[in-house]
């Protein structure tokens, strides 16, 4: 590799082309692109290289040409390299499988760390130890998104046609309508983006590193491969590192692998093909040290870490377009197609009647404006925004507006187990002593009978045997912060809560020795001097099968105890046996321990997890648990949650293609030992089957699947930054019932959108029918484009908005979701829309016949305003919020009526809209228009009670 060193910086270059025959070397130097001064400087540097005859840098292309003399040292040996060639220290390597001395050699380091100057050079070469974050969408991209759809394009075309005809006011009015719609959508998306940017925490921090044989505190961003770092309980691992020294070192890898228990770390190499969760000789960036302390050598930083690999997977996983966007796009294309077809027919009809070209173009523009529901973006956005506001009130931030509707169509919820369904906090669930099981709230220690009361002895044993760090909390006087492994933290917390004073016990029984767990001995023995009674106390805590073997013969040979252990383990509990004895001195042979009891721990379920799954099932939504845990643990959790279905491991699915995987998942309830890549595959396979998938997770390992799902939900305040960045919905709280609440809100949005669409399309079709009918009949133009725009803006916004903000039915979650991919308006709804459109067009035609275009304008608009109440949900389906909704509806539709009356009577508006002065006939037509739809509804619609899924449901049928 070639590099240019200048002013304490190093800029890389690589060979694009090397022609040995002409002695020309073409280098790509990214740093000089667009920088003339740096290009000149690099030319001067290159001229100073031995053998270089000429150097020319081109800042436009970012390349440099070198001519070199025959026999120039080194230059003649350079080979062409692809731009993606990476440095040796960053290449994927099996560090976990190499002995530590080999790791030091390959990284050019030593136990005393790197030389500081070498560290600086490596920092320039490798760059900072910072992972690139997903850049927020630019404002331009947000704005372009709002405008890049077929209806907007058609409106823009209509505006252009109006402008060509000289109708500047009309063209301007159409463009204003387009601008308002785009502006509303842009503002909402932009605000949302800002809310979530503010949540992002800063990465980095300070680490203890050894350089030049000295212990230094350096920023995590300055770590380089080869640095030796010190880690201890509570630290977040700053970079991928190979363990070189470990004292009870354990890492919590849940964010990366989903493994819920802290994993012990040790310096011995593991097999090269070991999966990530089993590389006990490694520490990975983004994970946390759960216990002990140790030293490690950094092997990968920044973009080369496993964390960055998961982030890259997130970026590669394309977020699917929201279902609402897909259906609206489809609907928009169909409407545009219909509009063009009708415009064609109208133009042909006008031609047959010998109308001039100006009239033909104006007719086409009128149809374009009539066909498109200009208020639809406002209505859809309002429905979504209202849903978002209600969800925000329930502690959920909707990051992508369309997700508020997508939630309503969810058919499968994929939930990560650790941290999503469970709290990721070990808790003592039971302490079995003397054959009796004590719950945590029943634990009471008797300090005066420390070794006479078995319960107190068990608690003291658990406390003294645990290797934790207990500190007083500065921010809360009297409370303690316990650092250490989750299991031992839980035991110590329980002992404190039962009334034992850990500090006092440690003073009375200072530890002499700790015999740690080994590969064969899955228990820990601690020896303590008894300052009160003299002698030595030995406590043992660990795997029940082995601890029972260390106890007195009556316990060793008791089958009931071992059976009880099996029972507890089968219930999904983590079981530890406790025992103790007195020794004459620390070196005495230990055995014949006195058995105390079983400490049973569990990672508890989050609030509402089981109920959320039950409600999901009632709502027709399947739940699938994805976890990095082992099969048995995963199965126990599924039992607790009441999930019925197969428990599969990722290895069972590895060889299946997407279609076969989708079939295999049909009967599954739990998938164990899944990696981030597996989660993405599973989500894609489900989507391929046509399911609408919601993925709920909180860790880094969930992020790619969150992005690939239809709705990604980041759960809890402790969700990783990456999960929150890519999720569509971020839950601040931890109650999973909120997810079902969000699904209910989504279904309300869908129902309201359907009603709004029925209204919008019926009214727009009525205008099209009127214009087309007039063209075919050879009658004069019934409505001008500006009048049609006025009608659309008035009726699409105010009544359309009222329909979009209706409250939902209380039993919204008692029915299954709508069929995925179903059209927003099905065949039945389309027939209703057609019938209603003809009725409204008839009202307009009657006005045209009786009083000309002005009366048509008056009656059609009034009829459309009144038609909105026909589209409301029947009274029986409305919730208790009905009174407020009725008032809001009346206010909005009433405002529309008042504005239209103003258009008929207020002279400046009348002149703008080219409406004649009102007559009694005009006002009578206006009143008739308001009344007729109600009369028609009474004659045609019925309320039908339908038995569905074992319960009666009321539907309004046209």
């Amino acid at each position: 590799m070639i590099a240019f060193h200048y002013a304490n910086r190093t800029e890389p270059a690589h060979v694009v082309r090397h022609s040995a025959s002409s002695r020309r070397l073409r280098l790509h130097v990214p740093a000089i692109a667009g920088d003339r001064h740096l290009a000149r400087r690099f030319e001067a540097i290159a001229h100073a290289w031995p053998g270089v005859l000429d150097a020319t840098a081109n800042p436009r292309s970012g390349r440099m040409l070198l001519h070199y003399a025959p026999g120039a040292p080194l230059l003649g040996h350079l080979r062409e390299q692809p731009p993606s060639a990476t440095d040796r220290a960053n290449e994927k390597d099996t560090w976990h499988a190499r002995p530590t001395n080999e790791v030091f050699t390959r990284l050019g380091s030593s136990p005393g760390g790197l030389d500081p100057r070498e560290a600086t050079r490596r920092l320039h070469r490798h760059g900072s130890n910072l992972a690139a974050e997903e850049a927020p969408r630019s404002r331009l991209a947000l704005l372009v998104d709002q405008l890049s759809n077929v209806p907007m394009a058609l409106l823009a075309g209509a505006a252009g046609a109006s402008a060509l005809l000289g109708e500047i006011v009309e063209a301007g009015a159409i463009l204003v309508a387009v601008g308002i719609n785009a502006g509303i959508g842009y503002r909402i998306e932009h605000q949302n983006q800002q809310v979530l940017t503010a949540w992002r925490r800063l990465e980095g921090g300070i680490v203890q590193a050894i350089r030049g044989g000295r212990l230094l505190s350096i920023p995590a961003a300055e770590l380089v491969p080869g640095d030796v770092i010190l880690v201890r309980a509570g630290d977040v691992v700053p970079a991928d590192a190979r363990v070189i020294d470990a004292h009870r070192l354990a890492a919590d890898e849940a964010p990366l692998t989903g493994e819920s228990e802290p994993q012990p770390r040790q310096p011995e190499p593991v097999r090269a093909d070991a999966p990530l969760a089993e590389r006990s000789s490694m520490l990975y960036a983004g994970t946390a040290i759960a216990g002990g302390h140790g030293r490690a050598i950094v092997v990968a930083t920044g973009g080369a870490t496993e964390l960055a690999r998961v982030r890259a997977l997130v970026e590669k996983a394309e977020a699917p377009p929201p279902p609402l966007a897909v259906r609206m796009e489809r609907l928009g294309r169909r409407v545009a197609g219909l509009s063009l077809a009708v415009a064609g027919v109208a133009t042909a009809a006008n031609l047959l009647h010998g109308r001039p070209a100006r009239t033909l173009v104006r007719g086409a523009v009128a149809l374009g404006v009539a066909a498109l529901p200009e208020g639809l973006p406002l209505v859809a956005t309002s429905a979504l925004v209202r849903s978002m506001q209600r969800l925000h009130g329930a502690g959920m931030v909707v990051r992508r507006v369309a997700a508020a509707e997508s939630l309503g169509g969810v058919t499968v919820i994929c939930a990560d187990k650790t941290g999503t369904l469970t709290r990721n906090e070990m808790r003592l669930e039971l302490l079995e002593v003397g054959g009796r099981a004590f719950r945590p709230d029943e634990l009471r220690a008797d300090r005066r009978r420390l070794f006479d009361d078995p319960l107190t002895t068990a608690l003291a044993a658990a406390l003294l045997n645990s290797d934790v760090d207990v500190q007083g909390r500065a921010e809360r006087a009297g409370s303690l912060a316990v650092a250490g492994s989750a299991t031992e933290r839980a035991l110590v917390d329980a002992a404190h809560a039962a009334g034992l004073d850990g500090a006092e016990l440690r003073r009375s029984f200072p530890r002499l020795r700790l015999i740690e767990r080994t590969r064969d001995a899955h228990y820990v023995v601690s020896l303590h001097r008894d300052r009160r009674a003299g002698g030595v106390l030995a406590f043992v805590k660990g795997a029940p099968e082995q601890v029972l073997d260390l106890c007195t013969p009556d316990v060793r040979d008791d089958p009931a105890l071992r059976a009880r252990n099996e029972e507890l383990a089968a219930a999904g509990l983590r079981v530890l046996a406790l025992a103790w004895r007195r020794l004459a001195d620390p070196s005495a042979d230990a055995g014949d321990y006195r058995f105390l009891g079983f400490a049973c721990l569990r990672d508890p379920l989050r609030t509402g997890a089981a109920e959320a799954i039950r409600r999901a099932s009632r709502a027709g939504i399947r739940t699938l648990i994805l976890t990095g845990d082992q099969r048995r643990t995963a199965a126990a959790i599924a039992d607790q949650l009441g999930l019925r279905g197969e428990v599969l491991a990722a290895s069972d699915l590895a060889q299946l293609d997407e279609a076969a995987l989708a079939e295999r998942l049909l009967g599954a309830a739990v998938l164990a030992r899944v990696t981030p890549e597996d989660k993405v595959r599973i989500v894609r396979a489900l989507r391929r089957r046509g399911e609408v998938v919601a993925m709920a997770g909180d860790g880094i390992n969930d992020a790619p699947a969150l992005k690939a799902a239809d709705v990604g939900i980041a759960v809890g305040a402790r969700a990783s930054d990456l999960a929150r960045q890519v999720a569509d919905v971020v839950m601040a709280g931890e109650d999973l019932r909120s997810i079902l609440h969000a699904v209910g809100e989504g279904r309300i949005v869908q129902d309201n959108l359907r009603r709004s669409l029925r209204f919008l399309f019926a009214t727009n079709l009525s205008e099209m029918a009127l214009v087309l009918g007039a063209a075919i009949a050879g009658a004069r133009e019934p409505l001008r484009p500006l009048q049609l725009l006025w009608i659309n803006l008035l009726t699409d916004t105010l009544p359309g908005l009222a329909l979009a903000l209706e409250p939902g039915a209380p039993e919204i979650l008692d029915r299954p979701p709508a069929r995925p991919g179903a059209d927003l308006l099905g065949p039945v709804e389309l027939r209703t829309v057609g019938r209603d459109a003809l009725f409204l067009a008839g009202v307009g035609a009657a006005g045209l016949a009786l009083g000309g275009p002005s009366l048509a304008f008056a009656t059609l608009t009034a009829a459309q305003l009144s038609y909105a109440s026909v589209c409301r949900a029947p009274r029986q389906l409305r919730s208790s919020e009905g009174a407020r909704a009725d008032a809001r509806f009346g206010a909005l539709v009433g405002s529309g009526a008042i504005l239209h009356l103003a258009a008929l009577t207020f002279p400046p508006l009348r002149r703008l809209l080219r409406v004649t002065a009102p007559t009694p006939l005009t006002l009578a037509g206006f009143a008739a228009g308001l009344a007729l739809p109600h009369l028609a509804r009474g004659a045609t619609s019925t309320h039908v009670v339908v038995r569905r899924g074992g319960r009666n449901q009321t539907e309004d049928r046209p």
């Binding site: 025959s21 436009r60 292309s61 390349r63 404002r139 703008l912």
Partner: protein, 82 residues
């Protein structure tokens, strides 16, 4: 001059909108300009790269042709340039 209400309202609305929207529009216009410059730079870079590629091809062809001629002349195999 007669007072024309619609014209007055249109003008007032345009003025008020531009003031209110200026803060929102400035970043968008900045991004549009940035995008335009980047696009222009990318086009210029592509053109420069293509030109350099052509130069390299011609230089290599020249050196092969003249290098071959000189080699033949030096070894006197009767195939040198005429």
């Amino acid at each position: 001059m007669n007072f024309h209400l619609p014209s007055f309202l249109l003008g007032y609305g345009a003025g008020a909108s531009s003031v209110l929207l200026a803060r929102q529009l400035r970043p968008v216009l900045l991004e549009v300009a940035t995008f335009a410059y980047r696009f222009a730079d990318a086009i210029a870079a592509r053109a420069a790269i293509r030109q350099e590629d052509l130069e390299d091809i011609l230089a290599e062809a020249r050196s092969r042709a003249r290098g071959a001629r000189n080699h033949h002349a030096a070894h006197g195999d009767g195939k040198g340039a005429h």
